[in-house]
């Protein structure tokens, strides 16, 4: 079931300043992760990923995920450490038609005439969380207050 991303996650996906990664699994079950700055968020809330290399491992794994309904993960990381993790199942690979041709020209403007475009992957987000360390630590302290090393709660005088 698709969700609407939080404003912070949406902004992170759209920002040219954040590092964006996509993690996928293929038929061998081996995880694969790659930095992909062509990940973005469309106005309708769908994640779009522009794959530039037809036979890349990410491309193969995305096909596998679409075929067999497997989730992929997208991670954004900003310079200040703000991070968002989003998951979803690829819904469509746009490989032809008007939208593809427009995107192809955009890719060539952005990366130069040697750039190619293989597919626009559309991934409706199904799950998200903020992955910034401070946020995760605060969540963990509430959810699992006793999953800690005991020296951290030892009396100050005894540390």
């Amino acid at each position: 079931m698709a969700i609407v991303l939080t404003k912070k996650a949406a902004a992170a996906l759209r920002s040219p300043e954040t590092v964006k990664l996509i993690a996928t699994v293929g038929k061998e079950g081996e995880p694969h992760v790659a930095v992909k700055d062509t990940l973005t968020l469309l106005p309708d809330g769908t994640i779009a990923f522009y794959e530039l290399i037809e036979t890349s491992k990410t491309q193969k794994n995305l096909v596998y995920s679409l075929w067999f309904s497997k989730r992929v993960s997208v991670l954004t990381v900003a310079r200040d450490g703000e991070s968002h993790l989003i998951k979803g199942v690829p819904y469509r690979a746009v490989t032809a038609g008007g939208a593809f041709l427009e995107a192809y020209e955009d890719v060539q403007k952005r990366y130069g005439p040697d750039a190619d475009l293989s597919a626009i992957w559309l991934i409706p987000p199904e799950w998200e969380r903020e992955n910034t360390l401070a946020v995760r630590r605060a969540e963990e302290e509430i959810a699992h207050p006793y999953e800690i090393h005991m020296d951290r709660i030892a009396k100050e005088a005894l540390r």
């Binding site: 096909v63 469509r92 032809a96």
Partner: protein, 423 residues
């Protein structure tokens, strides 16, 4: 009331669903085979019918359409074919409705164009969009859409509309619905592609950024020449040279699908043009059935010789640049085909292994029983058979490390086992 989905009034078996496993059962049975590829196979096997709501979605200014011959469509243009969500093309036309099984229905459900069966949604589908050059004409007045045809990512050249095998009665391939009608082109302006038209169309086509990843040239066999099929070869060489004029590189992504040329002819084809890939289809992987189904081919080039020419092609073009195909299902045609799907599959895969062990790639086209063919009243095999064949070809190609890019979902789209090679 007449069945709108059966415009040719083909006799349908009302109990056919009880005699074979359904799409849902097959996708569950073969968990490692893409359900998208299984859908492609089954739709190509059973054909499609478009509802009024689906046809209302057709925009002739955007979509690639063909005029229907059937009154049920009331003269409206029907989509040339369909795309699935993963980019897989379903190469299916209204002619495919000539099947004793019920066709799939393309309808609009919840605002989306959907492939349905018995009122159940199977998959979302999309119409093909036509290239811009389709709207233009050459200086001779030929519509460019008649010079080159297109699929979503590749274009094709129909080299010859007249297949010489059909000149001699009984020599045409029995599944072919084009060859019989091709004799009318003999000696006319339309018999072969016009090189001037080709050059002009290519100059328009290459302006379309991001549209095409390859070209295939194919056509009817031409026996004539200084030695058999030399005129056919010269036609391909001339056309490839004309195509190559628009590219900066010597070689460009291209495939010829022709009659099996001799080693000398293959060397000419490779050395004198910018071609990258070569296909010559055996059509049937069994000598005696090949001789029955393709008598014209067999009379000119015996089965064993056809294979030897494929092996020569691998030496010239390289592994992964040569393949051969079958019209899958005709090997089971009555009365001379195999008597059981298991036997047919065993022989198909044994022969496939032999070919692949020599570096020849494998592909199969799901047999459409088409009007005008000698086999017009035959029945195609079960979906289970096609999935087993698809998986078998795919596994053999993997075993022998033969790449399939030359005929991929982008460069052809017709071949389920090749379309499966994306993961």
């Amino acid at each position: 009331m007449a069945d709108k989905t059966n415009p040719r009034k083909i006799e349908r078996d009302p109990n056919w669903r009880k005699k074979e496993e359904s799409f849902a059962e097959i996708t569950k049975k073969y968990e490692t085979v893409s359900p998208f590829i299984i859908a492609q196979i089954d739709v190509q096997r059973r054909g499609v019918f478009y509802t009024d709501a689906a046809l209302d979605r057709v925009d002739p200014s955007i979509h690639q359409i063909s005029k229907s011959a059937f009154a049920v469509y009331e003269g409206r243009g029907v989509p040339t074919s369909l795309l699935l969500r993963d980019g897989t093309s379903i190469i299916v036309s209204e002619t495919s409705t000539q099947t004793p099984r019920d066709p799939y229905t393309v309808d609009v459900v919840d605002g989306k164009l959907m492939l349905t069966d018995e009122d159940r949604v199977v998959e979302e589908v999309f119409f093909w969009e036509k290239p811009k050059f389709f709207e233009k004409t050459t200086s001779r007045g030929t519509p460019m859409c008649e010079v080159l045809d297109a699929r979503p990512q590749r274009f094709s050249v129909a080299m010859s509309n007249y297949c010489h095998f059909w000149t001699k009665p009984g020599h045409g391939c029995k599944y072919c619905g084009i060859g019989a009608g091709g004799v009318k082109f003999k000696g006319t302006d339309e018999e072969r592609v016009h090189l001037g038209d080709l050059r002009e169309t290519m100059r328009e086509l290459v302006k379309e950024k991001g549209r095409f990843v390859g070209v295939i040239l194919t056509g009817g066999s031409i026996i004539s020449g200084s030695e058999p099929f030399e005129d056919e070869l010269n036609g391909y060489i001339d056309a490839l040279k004309a195509l190559g004029e628009v590219f900066e590189t010597r070689r460009f992504p291209s495939q010829v699908n022709s009659t099996a040329f001799t080693r000398r002819q293959l060397e000419r084809l490779y050395n004198e043009t910018g071609i990258t890939c070569y296909t010559t289809d055996l059509e049937v992987f069994h000598e005696a059935i090949y001789e029955w189904v393709c008598p014209g081919k067999a009379a000119s080039i015996p089965y064993g010789e056809w294979k030897r020419r494929l092996y020569a092609a691998v030496e010239i073009f390289g592994k992964g640049q040569v393949n051969t195909g079958i019209v899958s299902g005709v090997e089971l045609a009555e009365p001379n085909g195999f008597k059981s799907e298991d036997e047919a599959l065993r022989v198909d895969l044994e022969e496939a292994e032999d070919l692949a062990s020599h570096g020849v790639g494998l592909k199969h086209d799901v047999w459409h029983v088409v009007p005008g063919s000698i086999f017009w009243n035959r029945t195609t095999p079960s979906l289970d058979y096609y999935v087993r064949l698809t998986k078998g070809f795919y596994d053999i190609m993997q075993k022998y490390g033969i790449p399939s890019h030359m005929d991929s979902y982008r460069k052809c789209g017709m071949h389920p086992n090749v379309n499966h090679d994306r993961i």
